[in-house]
Amino acid sequence: MPAVQETVDRVREIDVDQYRYGFETQIESEKAPRGLTEDTIRFISAKKNEPAWMLEWRLEAYRRWLTMEEPTWARVEYPKIDYQDLYYYAAPKQKKSVGSLDEIDPEILKTYEKLGIPLREVEVLEGVVKPEGERRVAVDAVFDSVSVATTFQAELKKAGVIFMPISEAIREHPDLVKKYLGSVVPTSDNFFATLNSAVFSDGSFVYVPEGVRCPMELSTYFRINERNTGQFERTLIIADKGAYVSYLEGCTAPQRDENQLHAAVVELVALDDAEIKYSTVQNWYPGNSEGKGGIYNFVTKRGDCRGKRSKISWTQVETGSAITWKYPSCILRGDHSQGEFYSIAISNGFQQVDSGTKMIHLGSNTSSRIISKGIAAGKSQNTYRGLVTAHRKAANTRNFTACDSLLIGDKCGAHTVPYIEAKNSSAHFEHEATTSKISEDMLFYCIQRGLSQEEAIGLVVNGFVKDVLQQLPMEFAVEAQKLISISLEGSVG
């Protein structure tokens, strides 16, 4: 049928030049020598003025990493990564340490401006940029290996909230860092997490003290700029008893022919009655229309509901990266704790996504909820991989899982790989999965009512992901909705 063929052709020639964040910032940078040895780690640690215990921690991770094998179980294919051919540290050259925004290289400020990330809190505070009363967001901006600016620090400090680059936290709050770093994702956890433990350069640290509701959304914006450089950020968020925090994460990278490695680790700890809401809009460069270039995104994200009645909620919108290997998980340790995972994963062109979650029920009366929406277009492969398990001593655990996949065109694939293990007979686990295709009939119905083909796809897809979009903070939901249409532009006529 002609139109079907047309749609398929368009999908085939998917134009990833749509990627709007592909520009490069010309800036002088300081790098560690190429390759990875103990000296590289000493170099990074020295750059950060780290205490001896931190260097030791890194070196131990490095030695363990040398004995580990890269995992191969995910449904992704890529040429072997030469870990000795990468740079593990790159920082924009600065004459002195940054005291205020005015001292940041204007090129970097311009970069964030182009990306639409407000770093100038002054304007925001004076009400120039946003009207009074609108929700404000504190931003930590990470450029390659270092954090370049963190806004609203003073106001957060007043509330007792610590929000700073993790490199600073290691120096200023060593007790907190020592206590929690690696307590959720141990250095030995997996190949990529162990590598991250050895070479991580920056990331965000958040501590919300007992009983405090963080007065604003916290956000980190990650930008890879430098060529041949991996980004290894490390984020650690602790919500003490009864605390609440909502954290947003965004990421982009320039358009390049080579593949770049991003291996991050995120650890969340929620104590008694605490709640952490973690939202991601991931838009790394996905590669071009022939599948060349793009970010390899190997990320370990895990939350520990350590306290009773604690709650951790992951929401992710994944549109970028050539390869995504990512399973934001919850360890439901505290009795009555809750874990949630809401995900939209869109793949187009030659992208490969293997993503999902683990809900590990250790405590009694713990509950979890998984809503995953995978959308595959072009020649992409989109896999949901999930694990739900109940420990034999965990009574009355509940899980609800719904995995829906939507296919656009006939060259893509959607796969669902759920693992469910209930070792306690009182566990109540439900799993639903559907796969559907945007049919020509569905599109024609909308088009006959006056919508263009692109509007029709947008409408159908947005209906498909609605349950998840609703979980995102408002500003992010709007951004995500736009991103979804951009990501699917060119998948149809």
């Binding site: 119905y445 006959q448 919508l451 159908v460």
Partner: protein, 252 residues
Amino acid sequence: MTALLEVKGLKVQVEENEILHGLDLTVNEGEVHAIMGPNGSGKSTLSHVIAGKPGYEVTAGEILFKGENLLEMEPNERAAKGVFLAFQYPVEIPGVATMTFLRTALNAQRKARGEGEYSTPDFLKKVREVSARLSIPQDMLKRGVNVGFSGGEKKRNEVLQMALFEPSLCILDEMDSGLDIDALRIAADGVNSLRSKGRAMVVITHYQRLLNYIIPDFVHVMSKGRVVKSGGKDLALELEKSGYAQFEDKAA
């Protein structure tokens, strides 16, 4: 009278098989035409080609709508110009509230015509007024488009859209399929309330019973890709008695 729709010598293929072999049909403003015929006679093909459904190749002939070449227009342009197809099997669109769908579609049509988009309050006012007129409950509008709708509700949703978009040509494709007699009466009442001097309707049906409720001005019998007989509303009754068999040979 102005000819609203003129189909001249229309030949249509699907994957190399010719389905319509030179079809002629003229519909004037305000007229209701019924097209009857056995399965496979090309009735639905005709409705799809007029609406612009992909998958059909027009090899000869033309379709004029208000004097313009319809075949050169995208299906959404045709909709904006006033062509409405009430589907035999309306599709379900999960997660998209009927209200959202109606507003998106109506505004897309208005935009294409260079008219201003409706503001939310204006749109709500209009949709409430139209649905009240057709006795359609408000909660139906909050549900996903056709999701979990009964056969009757789906057809009423089609009628609601017809009332809201105010097209000048309505093509009703097998409106009666899957409806019991009560649901059929309700849907037909809705359609009848939309009959007007400026609006024409083409009612495609296999059975005569629909025409007891929507009484046509003209009846055309299709067989094997051609109109083989045209007449007044009595032709339908005649067919009910004698069946389609008499035309099968004629067409061959």
